[in-house]
Assembly symmetry: C2
Homo-oligomer: 327 residues x 2
């Protein structure tokens, strides 16, 4: 489909906010074919000057926490207030088909039929690096297409929260009231990334538990996050089902942005994210080159086994691998 189309048509279509073209442009960016990659980079270079105007918000939470219902309800509210909302996903475990919106008609029934919303499932290219790259680049495309709110969802497989936190302005955690001794639905390491926390499903008989959990979580956050000069993550309660508290959550997201803008941190954060992202791709592809090297491949297993068994010092082993690569 994308193969015969010229880049110029993509650029015009995306800038005009033409949704089918936007969808195809994202498919091009997601592609791992070498000939696609070159065209994708030309497309991105052309659209980059038109990007950057959206509020980028990451949303994480383990399965069952009610992310889809939350995003559907929040997104619909924002559309109702005149926003244009794009929903992207970073799910390295996803097996949904790359272009199909069928899954999202079911997952986000209100947003899926909105003229001013664009819901895109996670790319399915397997590695977190690949999926995260595609989503970062999709942000550029949906921004160029005029979407002013980008919600990036992740289910939190592997390091995907870290990847999403490093591509958004504000990182939100959805969780549930605890049952028993554990806070439900919080993955290790996530609390240290969050800017806003919401205890979801705070409705009906669960409302009290949710408020208790929010207080507990607020105390935990104070303990493990050192004081930040401009922002202390609030812990709110909400219900994606009834809509209660969604306005407060969004207000917290806006307050967070306001705090970052006031100090100039927002622009710095975004610039820093791009530079860090560039170097992380350099590192990753340099290692790919090395691991794909014939000489390295011929010795790597033996060298690693020798280190594992304690027969070879790690530093010497690293030198041997690097010497193979240098040949």
């Amino acid at each position: 489909m994308t193969h015969g189309t010229d880049i110029g048509e993509y650029v015009e279509g995306v800038l005009a906010g033409h949704r089918p073209t936007l969808a195809r442009a994202i498919t091009l960016v997601e592609s791992r074919r070498a000939d696609h990659a070159e065209r994708a980079q030309r497309l991105l270079s052309a659209l980059l000057p038109h990007s950057g105007k959206a509020h980028r918000v990451g949303i994480t939470g383990v399965p069952g926490v009610g992310k889809s219902t939350f995003i559907d309800a929040l997104g619909s509210r924002l559309v109702g207030r005149g926003h244009r909302v794009a929903v992207l996903a970073v799910d390295p475990s996803s097996t949904r088909s790359g272009g199909s919106i069928l899954g999202d008609r079911t997952r986000m029934p209100s947003l899926a039929v909105e003229e001013n919303a664009f819901v895109r499932p996670s790319p399915t290219s397997g590695t977190l690096g690949g999926v995260a790259r595609a989503s970062r680049e999709a942000i550029v495309l949906v921004e160029a297409a005029g979407f002013d709110v980008v919600l990036v969802e992740t289910v939190g497989v592997g390091q995907s929260e870290v990847a999403v936190a490093s591509m958004v302005d504000c990182f939100c955690l959805l969780t549930l009231a605890r049952t028993g001794d554990e806070l439900q639905g919080i993955k290790k390491g996530v609390l240290e990334l969050v800017d806003v926390v919401a205890v979801n499903k705070a409705d009906g008989p669960h409302a009290d538990d949710a408020r208790k959990a929010a207080r507990e979580l607020s105390r935990v956050l104070r303990l493990i996050q050192p004081a930040h000069p401009t922002w202390r993550p609030p812990v709110l309660t909400c219900s994606g089902l009834t809509g209660d508290g969604l306005d407060d959550v969004w207000q917290a997201v806006r307050d967070h942005r306001g705090a970052l803008e006031e100090t100039g941190e927002l622009a710095q954060r975004r610039a820093g994210q791009q530079v860090e992202w560039m170097w992380s791709q350099v590192r990753e592809r340099l290692m790919d080159r090395m691991l794909g090297d014939r000489g390295v491949r011929s010795v790597a297993a033996d060298v690693e086994a020798a280190v594992r068994s304690g027969g070879l010092p790690a530093t010497l082993a690293a030198e041997r691998l690097l010497a193979e690569f240098a040949r």
Copy 2:
């Protein structure tokens, strides 16, 4: 000093537990001179089969938490029970002189004069990578010299806790009772690495506060560390000054080792640490090579500036840098 000595003498001296030779061998391993590096690797290869028998314990805590007094008191107790105790340090901010033990006579007055203790200040080679490499390799040397307990101290600069946690069997956090709203002396990210926690300075009027802090911390740990099948980090109280609770802390460290040994995790953990360490050195030195490349250096600043200002997509920028390197 180390330059004229043959490797064979080092090997014999270290294996005989000759402390001046051990000290010089560590200096050789810490050296960054190219001719030293080659000899250091031969020395390590010769001693590696004689290493691995110690209990390796990391100890972290911010300045003021009483680490030196704690280690001095704990180490002396262990020596009193027939152990041979080596104390190493990973402090990338250290400006203490590499070979001098003067600082440690003051910091650890009891251990410094023990026949069966060996206290070595942090190497001062600047980068965390260099300091951590030297300390990992010093572990091999002190084990080959017959020390059966290795305490690796870190003050927690940068990522040094992560570095230390990945070279020891058990990672302990020393902290203090909180004052006001914050837990004192806990650095971001550390709670997720810990195997044993001790609230120090639990003496005199502070004992009650310390117990309260320990309970609070125990609850936080339950919340942020997912249940591990074989080990849940205990939170104890102790006083390096009076010695109260030190036996309990050491017992917890032993229990932890017992739990890991029972499941075979200890051997796996150590083998995995070595392999991970090898690859991390490969990655680091590959990047060093790239950043030292003349072509890359000639364009890196401009490319990074273009990415920072939003003029160049990060993926394309990464490709340009890699293309320069490939030339």
